[in-house]
């Protein structure tokens, strides 16, 4: 994949992710049932179904991200709705006028999304949230100029970060009520975030 991330590729990515969330809905709900309230898979499946239905033909990556963010905010609910929504909205702001994102601009865009999520949710790395998948994913993009390699490394880092949440006590979200009992369980939001980036690597990598 050399052409970079344009609207067509990004649209295909979102379709792929919507299918994956629908397929993994039960798995994500099970993860959430163990340490939360069991709705994360349903929330994302509902949200991304709406994303695909409402997307239309956005003029630019920025417009696409904004539309996705607004749809997620209006349909997901829960903690993940505003957080995933903010991720996309802030990615949209960072995408600016570009019609195609290369490795460097994607790194900048995703870092902006991370900053937005962190600002809204006030979670830090190690709090056992989606931040623990997103942070290493952003880091893995640094200095990498080949888009394929960048997306693959970023997705792998996110998956690794999500897995590493197993050993953590949660300090944010519902899992924080459980104290020590959260240990051994993988965070659902970190897991879904890794799936999101895996989807991009598969689509565009």
């Amino acid at each position: 994949m050399s052409g970079g991330l344009d609207v067509a590729v990004l649209t295909a990515w979102l379709g792929r992710v919507a299918v994956r969330y629908a397929a993994e809905q039960g798995y994500l709900c099970d993860l959430d049932a163990a340490i939360g309230d069991g709705d994360h898979g349903a929330n994302l499946a509902r949200g991304f179904t709406a994303v695909v239905a409402k997307l239309g033909q956005p003029a630019s990556p920025a417009a696409l991200f904004k539309s996705v963010g607004m749809t997620l905010i209006g349909t997901v609910g829960g903690a993940s709705g505003p957080l995933y929504g903010t991720l996309f909205i802030d990615m949209g702001k960072a995408a600016g006028e570009s019609t195609t994102l290369d490795a460097a601009s994607w790194a900048k865009v995703l870092a902006a999304g991370l900053a937005g999520v962190a600002a809204r949710g006030k979670a830090q790395p190690g709090d056992k949230t989606m931040i623990d998948a997103l942070t290493p994913a952003v880091q893995a993009l640094q200095g990498e100029t080949d888009l394929t390699a960048a997306l693959t490394a970023s997705a792998a880092a996110a998956v690794h970060g999500a897995e590493a949440t197993k050993k953590l006590i949660a300090h944010k979200g519902r899992a924080s009520y459980l104290g020590e009992r959260a240990i051994g369980h993988q965070d659902p939001g970190a897991t879904s975030l890794a799936m999101l980036l895996q989807g991009l690597a598969s689509e565009a990598g």
Partner: protein, 333 residues
């Protein structure tokens, strides 16, 4: 999973339609985005109170819309915070020109979505205050968590603040009163069984025949710890201890005792718990001058109960006694 539903993704809308049909004299149900308002429309010159949260906690909050309590409620998907567009639409629909109070239970999702809604409402020049309820003493180390959850105390705050708004108190006064109620109430819950979220299709946890979950919230999430099932009197004592010591309640206090069912608990058992909780309060020197017993903030069909204790002052007592006319709470008018 056996429930009276048509499909997991229709539960909320079907139930709202049932509410609309049953209570058209009291409430009006709006769809896309979903919210419930009083039948009459906004009350000019009076502060409006909006609450909301995931569905599955009925009658909270929709059942509390009506004269003397809420002006609007926003139901999300089951156990999922509603979205900002619902809250914005509800806020705009009930604003009487003197501001709107959002009563928000302390869960990340509720907080974030209500925050976004408040930002949007402010852009439309509606004065919005928000009070976050967090009365659940089961969450102990709140510095390192998302903080204490908003549970049973929320119902009491909505009743008391609704009466204050009805009486014409201004936004800052109603807001301060809501903070005061929240600061004066402590709650804790216990589950005898888990509940099944319709789209999950299976219970969110499983308990052995001799086990309970102590310190549960209202979303079928596991509690603080698992404990051996015990007699009602022992459980009431286990629950009252952290409630009484946390505030702390002291000799001479007057309080409202609220024993709440989680949805699958019969009333006969709630009164058994009430008896002991009442006796423990009395031993502690706390006079129970008001009470509420029933299933008002629930977790679908969970068998379980929560206890809330609210230290009353004269103004809270007066507003508690004031008329309320909603689908779920009615008296005095």
């Amino acid at each position: 999973m056996k429930k009276f539903i048509n499909a997991a993704d229709r539960v909320v809308e079907d139930s709202l339609a049932g509410m609309a049909a049953a209570h058209h004299d009291l409430i009006k149900v709006h769809y896309e985005p979903n919210f419930i308002t009083r039948a009459g429309g906004p009350v000019k010159g009076k502060v409006a109170i909006v609450s909301g949260g995931g569905s599955g906690h009925e009658p909270m909050h929709g059942g509390f819309v009506g004269r003397g309590m809420l002006h609007a409620a926003c139901p999300g998907a089951v156990f999922t915070s509603p979205t900002p567009d619902q809250m914005l639409a509800a806020t705009k629909a009930v604003d009487g020109g003197t501001g709107v109070l959002h009563i928000v239970k302390n869960y990340t999702g509720d907080i974030l979505n209500f925050e976004m809604a408040a930002d949007l409402a402010k852009e439309e020049n509606i004065h919005v205050n928000a009070v976050v309820t967090d009365d659940d003493v089961a969450v102990q180390d709140s510095l390192y968590t998302a903080g204490r959850r908003g549970v049973g105390g929320t119902v009491l705050a909505e009743k008391i603040c609704g009466a204050a708004a009805e009486a014409g108190a201004d936004l800052e006064t109603v807001t301060a009163l809501c903070r005061k109620v929240n600061a004066s109430v402590r709650s804790i819950g216990v589950a005898l069984s888990a509940c099944t979220v319709p789209h999950a299709g299976k219970p969110s946890f499983t308990l052995e025949d001799d086990e309970i979950e102590f310190g549960i919230g209202i979303h079928g999430e596991p509690g603080r710890r698992r404990a051996k099932h015990a007699s009602a009197d022992e459980l009431a004592a286990m629950m009252m201890e952290p409630i009484l010591t946390d505030l702390p309640f002291t000799k001479g206090d007057h309080a409202l005792l609220f024993v709440n069912g989680m949805g699958g608990t019969p009333l006969i058992e709630l009164y058994v718990l009430f008896r002991k909780a009442h006796a423990i309060a009395a031993q502690h020197g706390v006079t129970i001058s008001r009470s509420l017993v029933g299933s008002y903030i629930t977790s679908l069909e969970m068998a379980g109960a929560s206890i809330s204790l609210l230290r009353l002052d004269d103004s809270m007592t007066k507003y508690w006694d004031a008329p309320v006319v909603t689908p779920a709470l009615r008296w005095g008018a």
